[in-house]
Subunit: 761 residues, 2 copies
């Protein structure tokens, strides 16, 4: 707010119709509030216009495309999946760097200079760009000179994902983790102490007994190995094996291991979950609390820009007129329908005074975030084209049949029978033919439904299962046709296409879940928290990428997988004589290597799953050095102990929310309004894809449906979908927040709010 | 309350001094309220007296002893750890049955006949006794006739633990699980559906490719095996192995397994935890709510028995006089000191009116549950015996030295050095001698502390670490002496004694944890929730016992472990040619068998830890039948999916409690009172074992300490220890309960409350 050139507040009286510039400023504020952006943008008209441009969807999509391109360069760089010459990848990277730099310059023009240089994420971004450039030059020079060169800056790439302006959810997650670290560290130290004590005990008890492991190695013979073995036991990866020699020697030693597992695996791991859960929640709640406050401040700012002089009759309260309000909403969400705008206005101005006061105005950001579906009950196109046929008795009987419950049940039975046929051997010709029959049946189902339901409402955005069915069936049809064409032309069957056909066939079976009510609620919850889980996907991606790049530098080419000589002598040592006879080679883990980024990612997934990670670890230790274990232990601590626990905590919290919380106030207010205006759609109608609603109108008004040319508008709140993760997070903590934030509503000098300090991750 | 012979309420005016019978009735009510017993006992004087006898600690201890004896009979019965003839174990079992029958008859005399026969736990108990008797007779007859006989009633034994009157916490846990089952079942079915779909997909994708597992078997060749393999993959036990053949064939197949693990292992397992957590908590909360209400009703009953006519001056409110109150408390807790009673009275009668009204009286049950430590600050016995010496300048300097922080730090350093020495090879004579030095140092520490601190307060019940130190050091001393004696007498070293010496030495190192403050808080939380975890211990014991007995019948003798021929040909097939070359035999799991109850328990622990459970499962399937898998899958579902999740939920909830809840009102009231009466002990004084407190008095009153012959009383609330699990549970939900239960305080006709219906588990 430093370089502001106009008086924002109390600018009324002079101008009743707000200027375009005011509107843009207000819409920037409202849009920021709606999407929980927190940018200290300059309020000069030029900066505001630039800022609106900066927030364009296209710009953001392009940015993420180039980030993905930059990250995916690992596919083509040495060690590569598909090798490209270094100049090609470096050229592509240079292009990406240019895009990021451009975006950064744009950002710098939007916000005041001093704010720009104080924001750690910009500094971090610049540092990443400069370091990458330096690394590229050094690498190019060394490469040209024929020296060994290392592209170390590749580790920095995931930082782009974190430090880009749009990465605020990811930054928030990382901040929460960082704040929770001290508490986690305490438990971790105690846990390590416990492992050290138990290892010492194991060393004293077992080292002198001359026991051998099943591989013939000495049993608990030195302290470092004992610590590592017992750390692995915490993860249960070597569970009975590490105990067997001692247990074979004496049954009493089983007690040692049982106590160890009880203390370290069951109790300490639960405590980790508890501490991570509690701290993560605590800090996230604090962040979301600040977020909500910032949102209100921004809305208050927007209000101050748009407010008009109080009229004489009123108590002098500032207001925003309907005209300004409508222009604002139109400029914030250009794609919103007129009817929808009217609805929001009638909720905001529920006393019908032609203007909204501050309290009602501040709600706008939340109102915009509530997804309202505009349903237009149109007559069926067939009914318009040949009404005589469509409204004939057989046609109406057909419609009634398709809408009947028995139709759905019949198709569920067909799916079940199909499942049995899929399970049968597809080489039998009868089974092969049956597949055509099933495909025809499914196609018929979709066509019948389309005959009954208006196509546009059948393919409405919220009709997940309709889309699902149609896509699966059409794809299966295309793939099956291609497959048969190939087969009949040359007797040749493409395995890839056949695989796709199989997967599509089986996926079709999932449809059954939606027919069973008790499953549907769980599925809906899962689908609902799905988008929020994507933040964790990003977090995992960042961590995986860093570990993959480091791992590739450390271990590339040490373990080789030869595809041709399967079972031959080459496979017995994974191309490395050091692995001969090791568990790694014996179990056939040769393809679990760091020879390209895809293999590295698959290996990291296996480490995340934990089981047998010690075999992988010892394999890579064998081909390099014992200290390679550190890499694997670090990965385990980072991903399994911290991130997976946070993931579990998040799912737990989301489920508890589903079980306990009801709708928010605003939701129910909006819903009430919709009901009041008689624009609502019954829940059942929606679930049956408007079938019932149409049926009702069918029965009540037997007149020609083509009479009602004007499509009737209906609204439905998609109350349980969250557009943004922020919305879900806010809802997660809404119950606690509402009590706190009742007081300090909006009267704050500063419209923006400072993020908690955040360095580079 | 049916066969009551006296009017309970409003029996005042006639008798101001309450009869012994009234007192017993009231104390039965109060004791029930205190320990959350919920018994519909008869209120006739004879029944009440019998009931008080029934609740005697000794009777309960004896009962649990016989239950344990009954359970431990599995050690001696076929397949036995130490075989005894059948008549011996059956005689012992008969004795146990007699005891249980006696206890049941006693219980039947205490409660009204109709209540007795309506209570499912009694019916269940009788059924268990009768069935066991029948089984014993049938077995005896068959055994005598030389036929094959099965002692199937052994499965019923753990039901005793559940259905015994004292097993109410266990019953509550089982009830909560049972109530949560429908919800869990829904998720479980969806989870199974997901596995079935993925298995079908795997079958279609992989069965025709001619792939082989690393063991050379066909890969996903039939549906049942595919389902089992993928179920095992959910538990991550066969994590990379099951994927490797497909991954080796094509990298793209890794995607199938990654999606599978993401959906089924990460998401579904989190959802399981969420559903189990949420439902268990919900039902447990409801139970505890009923419990709290029942407690208040019982206290109201006791009040009605003891109340006196209101005096003229008062507003007609019934009261309980101090005399009745004191007699009541003395009869409920005979071991309570006079001072403690006084303290409780002063809290109850905080207005000093010589009587308590109903509200204050009802609190008594909670007051009794608050553990108050009575500390007597006595002069040191040495100070009394030879005051001249004890109070001399060098002696006082020594005391000051020992009390100094540096003393504790010095000993922490000594412990660290000791840890290093323990790690060194103990065969070197210098290391062996050093152990004597460390032992001497530790002994010296204890003696010095005893010199400074009054012995009785040094060994107070709450001084956990003092007890810990002394026991460990004394045991280590004894064991080391025995070991050296053996060694010097015949050069013979007993491994067992040496093992004990080692364990004691290492345990000594744990002491360091208490010196580090941030560890102490976590340790305290863990110690605090320890007793509550015992309920889960019982639950686990019940489930383990049933599975162990069933497993022994199914699998006994199928797998043999030969101790002598280690590494010989006998070990290669675990005494069963069917296992030759199997993973089970190759990994040396021969001792993981069901050949006696101890081995079975260790095996079940391994199944609980999950890793490699599929190897165990396939081993036992190989020697019996493929359907043996069902046993292992059932165990996994019961223990890992349900009970372990509940355990995790409990630990989580207990930790959240520690982070969020403060002291209860009653606690702080009692504490305030203690402070008011200047009987409190500073927290630090307590932590330093009264060292500081004495030091203070030492400095302020340099007069002869032997003057204050009367030991000074001090109180300290052991606020964070819960005597009963019920108390912890109540505290877990206290915040929610207090709002609800404010209204219906005590005015209820029925003093008891009905348990939620509960059949046999």
């Amino acid at each position: 707010m430093t370089s502001t050139s106009r008086p924002d507040a109390r600018a009324c009286a002079e101008q009743d119709v707000k200027s375009q510039e005011d509107l843009e400023l207000a819409s920037a504020y409202v849009s920021d509030a709606q999407y929980n952006r927190n940018v200290f943008f300059d309020t000069s008209p030029r900066a505001v216009r630039l800022y609106l441009l900066y927030n364009r969807r296209l710009a953001q999509v392009l940015l993420y495309f180039f980030i993905l391109l930059d990250l995916s360069l690992a596919l083509w760089e040495e060690p590569a999946v598909v090798p490209l010459p270094p100049w090609a990848t470096m050229l592509a990277e240079l292009l990406c760097l240019h895009v990021f730099a451009l975006r950064l310059v744009h950002y710098a023009k939007v916000i005041p200079q001093d704010k720009f240089w104080k924001d750690p994420k910009n500094i971090c971004m610049i540092a990443v760009l400069v370091l990458t450039l330096v690394d590229m030059i050094v690498y190019g020079a060394l490469h040209a000179a024929g020296c060994y060169a290392l592209r170390w800056s590749r580790v920095l790439r995931p930082l782009l994902l974190v430090n880009v302006t749009e990465g605020r959810q990811l930054r928030r997650a990382i901040r929460s983790i960082r704040n929770a670290l001290p508490q986690i560290l305490t438990v971790f130290l105690l846990f390590i102490f416990s492992i050290l004590i138990f290892s010492l005990m194991a060393l004293k008890l077992f080292s002198k007994r001359g026991l051998k492991t099943s591989e013939g190695a000495a049993y608990f013979s030195n302290y470092a190995d004992a610590v590592f073995d017992l750390y692995v036991l915490v993860t249960t990866a070597n569970s009975p094996d590490v105990m067997m020699p001692a247990y074979d020697a004496s049954s009493a030693f089983a007690l040692f291991f049982i106590v160890y597992i009880l203390v370290n695996t069951f109790i300490f791991m639960s405590v980790f979950l508890a501490v991570v859960f509690n701290n993560y929640k605590k800090y996230l709640k604090e962040e979301v609390r600040l977020l909500v406050r910032a949102k209100r401040h921004k809305m208050a700012r927007a209000f101050a820009v748009l407010q008009e002089c109080p009229e004489d009759g009123d108590a002098g309260e500032p207001r925003v007129s309907r005209a300004s309000w409508s222009r604002l909403v139109r400029s914030v969400q250009p794609d919103m329908g007129r009817a929808h705008t009217e609805l929001l206005w009638s909720v905001s101005d529920h006393q019908n005074r032609g203007a909204v006061d501050k309290t009602a105005f501040v709600q706008l950001a939340d109102l915009l975030n509530i997804q309202v579906m505009t349903l237009k009950s149109r007559p069926h196109p067939l009914g318009r084209l040949c009404p005589a046929f469509y409204r004939s008795a057989p046609s109406r009987l057909l419609c009634r049949l398709v809408r009947h419950r028995a139709f759905a049940v019949a198709y569920d039975v067909i799916i079940m029978i199909n499942a049995v046929f899929i399970g049968l051997d597809e080489d039998k010709p009868s089974v092969g033919y049956s597949e055509w029959a099933f495909l025809a049946l499914y196609l018929l189902e979709i066509l019948l439904k389309l005959y009954v339901t208006e196509p546009r409402s059948f393919f409405a955005a919220h009709c997940f299962w309709n889309w699902f069915d149609t896509i699966i069936v059409v794809c299966a049809l295309v793939a099956t046709v291609i497959n048969s064409a190939l087969q009949s032309s040359g007797g040749y069957t493409s395995r890839q296409i056949l695989d796709i056909v199989f997967i599509l066939r089986v996926l079709r079976l999932i449809r059954v879940v939606d027919s069973i009510k008790r499953f549907r609620t769980i599925m809906n919850t899962l689908i609902r928290i799905g988008p929020a889980i994507l933040t964790f996907g990003q977090l995992i991606l960042v961590v995986y990428y860093v570990f993959a790049v480091v791992g590739m530098e450390l271990f590339k080419g040490k373990v080789k997988f030869e595809e041709d000589a399967a079972g031959g002598p080459a496979a017995a040592d994974c191309g490395n004589p050091l692995l001969r006879g090791s568990a790694f080679a014996r179990l056939g883990y040769c393809k679990n290597n760091f020879n390209n980024v895809l293999n590295a990612f698959v290996l990291l997934v296996q480490l995340t799953v934990v089981n047998q990670w010690h075999v992988l670890s010892s394999g890579f230790s064998a081909v390099t050095h014992k200290s390679a274990r550190i890499y694997f232990v670090l990965f385990h601590i980072t991903v399994v102990i911290i991130i997976i626990n946070i993931f579990v905590a998040f799912v737990l919290e989301a489920f508890f929310l589903e079980y306990t919380l009801d709708k928010s106030n605003l939701h129910s207010e909006l819903e009430k309004k919709i009901e009041e205006l008689q624009l609502g759609v019954a829940q059942e109608a929606l679930e049956d894809n408007l079938v019932n609603a149409e049926e009702t109108s069918d029965q009540e008004q037997p007149a020609d449906p083509s009479e009602s040319v004007e499509p009737k508008l209906m609204f439905k709140i998609a109350s349980k979908r969250y557009r943004t993760v922020d919305a879900l997070l806010q809802r997660l903590f809404e119950a606690d927040l509402e009590q706190e934030d009742g007081g300090d509503d909006a009267h704050d000098a500063n419209g923006n709010f400072a993020n908690p300090s955040f360095g580079s991750a």
